[in-house]
Amino acid sequence: MGTVRRHAFIECSADEVWGLVGDPARLHEWFPITSTRVEGKKRWIDLPSGLCFEEDIVTLDHDLRRFQYSIVNNPIVKSHLGTVDVIPDGPSRCVVVYSTDLDPEVMALMIAGAAGAGLERLQEIFGSGEPGKGDGR
């Protein structure tokens, strides 16, 4: 099992950021994928390489501002839990934390890389200056 984590501070309220991050159908607006489809507790995402990931939505907690999902029915992925937290840091600042636990562990690094790009995109969308940097574990 590989466990990785990326985070980024965003100069915007947690509620506003959660408005985007907390909508599972809008993932393609900030994550490096081409399209998103949601049906109930299921989500499908299309990657630029042509791959499609089927996902179960595990948690969508608007009070905690936590989204969790799991890649399923995938020939490579044995187990996976992705967690995105939007945590307020005062009234007009927040930190977005993207955590991935994945077997095989190698794939966790690639998800983390994409998450890093996604966090940078969130900073662009919400007008923050600092590029997204986490500690990568």
């Binding site: 990657l47 390489s49 020939p75 490579i76 095989p104 562990e105 690094l109 690639m110 890389g113 890093g116």
Partner: protein, 524 residues
């Protein structure tokens, strides 16, 4: 018209692979002739012993800590300097054909330009207003028939039946495959029925010639021809296996046949050596995670060496064809050829294979030949002064008649030992950093005055007190570690002081490294 530059690299090739460097098995007459007529560097070293950091040093002329690609999987920033850009700005046509690897290979989100080009079939892309990496033409290949590479695309379009002929480099866990094959069951050994014409070595040469054919006669050009071999998997075309019978080979000098002797050598080194040998500590992705070096047999060492020699012969012959084409174009007199590799291969030394945090000649002593253009009048020479791949970028600019770029961290390669000191060539620095799900190994190495000293920085298995010190003159196989020998304490301390004075500031141990280093986005 100016001088043309053919920059040839292989991947994971040892110094002793070539006849001109003492190799006795592979026949490498083309490279031997280049060495005879050019400058053969007897102590050339990389700044990292894995692909992405080392290749990033080649193109930027910078040490690892400066360009920031500290480990495979860390992409070279798009805005990093590139000697290809400098040459292109000066009017050179530029190409890279073969293995690039400045950006991660495993890229399902297709985030990286190299992979985008390989997938689309395009040969260049404008990124942020600049031609990506400064190459008019990038045409990529790697170690097999799959992936986001032009070669894989060509194979799919023309010979799809050949894709499955190659060894599968990764297993179903996306780890480096440990499955064995051939006659001995050696890891990453495979019988490959692919016709030689379709093999990536010949493809790289063919595509290089095609690009050269596209240029006008009066063009100045810089072409990086980058062969993926002899990097594992060891699966050359089966039609060529007759060249070297593994059963005829002696065991390598660095591989004592006696197991107890091998293990005693490992125990004389910092603990990560023996821990990997036992399968207790896999610190990096560059070797199969599930393979235990202790299981390596004498015959597996022989077979892997034989296949490596075959791959080296194919490379030499491919280079010969490209040089003949260049001559036919009338460019021979103005052609500079620079030949090297990104790092070495353990190839049985100390009972180990592949690569990792092991800073001995197996991985650090590289073939490096510069055959200056005959029209330049530069004399042939052997250079024994240590030099680094960090000097390549400034060398290419020198050949092109350009001033040394302000972004490089080393002057050009010397043309003689007499010239070396004046150019500041005295020491070479090599770095290793790996962080793999909490397993941390960090090494800093200096090579100078026929000594090599490596400090193990604090990490998962080192407390900062361990290291290696070898006298390359009396111990060419680095089998006697003098790190803790009081008689050599002064030498060790002097080397380490020089190393810390000479390394870029960013390479020093720092509490901020974890927070400031570039992110690793893939295993490779």
């Amino acid at each position: 018209m100016g001088r043309k530059i053919l920059f040839i690299t292989t991947d994971q090739q040892r110094y002793d692979a070539l006849g001109c460097n003492g190799g006795r098995i592979a026949r490498t007459p083309v490279l031997d002739a280049l060495a005879t007529n050019g400058i053969n560097y007897r102590r050339a070293l990389p700044q990292s012993v894995v692909c992405m950091p080392s290749r990033s040093t080649m193109i930027t002329g910078q040490h690892v800590a400066t360009h920031g690609v500290w480990m495979n999987g860390v992409p070279l920033p798009e805005e990093a300097p590139s000697v290809a850009t400098t040459l292109r700005d000066a009017g050179y046509a530029t190409a890279l054909i073969g293995k690039a690897h400045f950006e991660p290979f495993l890229d399902p989100f297709l985030r990286f330009t190299e992979n985008q080009l390989g997938t689309s079939g395009d040969f260049s892309k404008i990124v942020d207003g600049h031609v990506h990496r400064g190459f008019d033409h990038m045409e990529s290949a790697s170690h097999g028939g799959m992936g986001n590479f032009h070669y894989a695309r060509w194979l799919m379009q023309n010979h799809p039946e050949a894709i499955g002929m190659y060894y599968r480099v990764l297993d179903m866990s996306l780890q480096v495959n440990s499955a064995g094959g051939g006659d001995t069951g050696g890891p990453q050994v495979h019988d490959n029925p692919i016709p030689r014409d379709w093999y990536h070595t010949d493809w790289v040469a063919e595509r290089t010639m095609a690009w050269l054919d596209s240029l006008p006669a009066d063009a100045d050009w810089f072409c990086w021809m980058s062969f993926p071999d002899p990097h594992h998997p060891w699966d050359p075309p089966a039609s060529e296996k007759h060249r070297v019978n593994w059963r005829d080979l002696d065991l390598p000098e660095g591989y004592p046949a006696d197991r107890a002797r091998r293990e005693a050598l490992l125990d004389d080194k910092p603990r990560h050596w023996r821990m990997w040998y036992e399968g207790e500590f896999v610190s990096n992705f560059e070797a199969p995670a599930s393979w235990v070096p202790k299981t390596l047999t004498d015959d597996q060492v022989r077979e892997i060496n034989a296949l490596t020699h075959i791959e080296n012969e194919l490379i030499d012959e491919a280079i010969g064809r490209v040089l003949a084409r260049i001559s036919a174009r009338g460019w021979a007199d103005d052609l500079d050829v620079v030949y090297t590799t990104d790092h070495g291969e353990l190839q049985g030394d100390f009972g180990l294979m592949f690569k990792g945090p092991y800073h001995t000649d197996s991985l650090m002593r590289l073939p490096l030949i510069w055959r200056p253009a005959p029209s330049s009048g530069v004399s042939a020479a052997d250079v024994s002064t240590p030099v680094g791949l960090v000097s390549l970028a400034s060398t290419f600019c020198h050949i092109a008649g350009l001033p040394e770029p302000d972004y490089v961290e080393s002057s050009r390669l010397p043309t003689s030992d007499a010239e070396a000191r004046g150019l500041g060539h005295e020491r070479v620095l090599t770095e290793w950093d790996s962080v793999l799900f909490g397993k941390i190994v960090r090494l800093r190495t200096i090579t100078r005055d026929n000594w090599v000293a490596t400090a193990c920085l604090p990490g998962s298995v080192h407390d900062g007190t361990e290291g290696e010190l070898y006298d390359l003159g009396s111990d060419p196989l680095q089998q006697k570690n003098l790190w803790s020998d009081p008689a050599h304490r002064a030498t060790r301390d002097d080397l380490l002081a020089d190393m810390w004075d000479s390394l870029p500031e960013a390479s020093r141990p720092s509490v901020t490294w974890q927070a400031t280093r570039r992110q690793c986005d893939a295993p490779v």
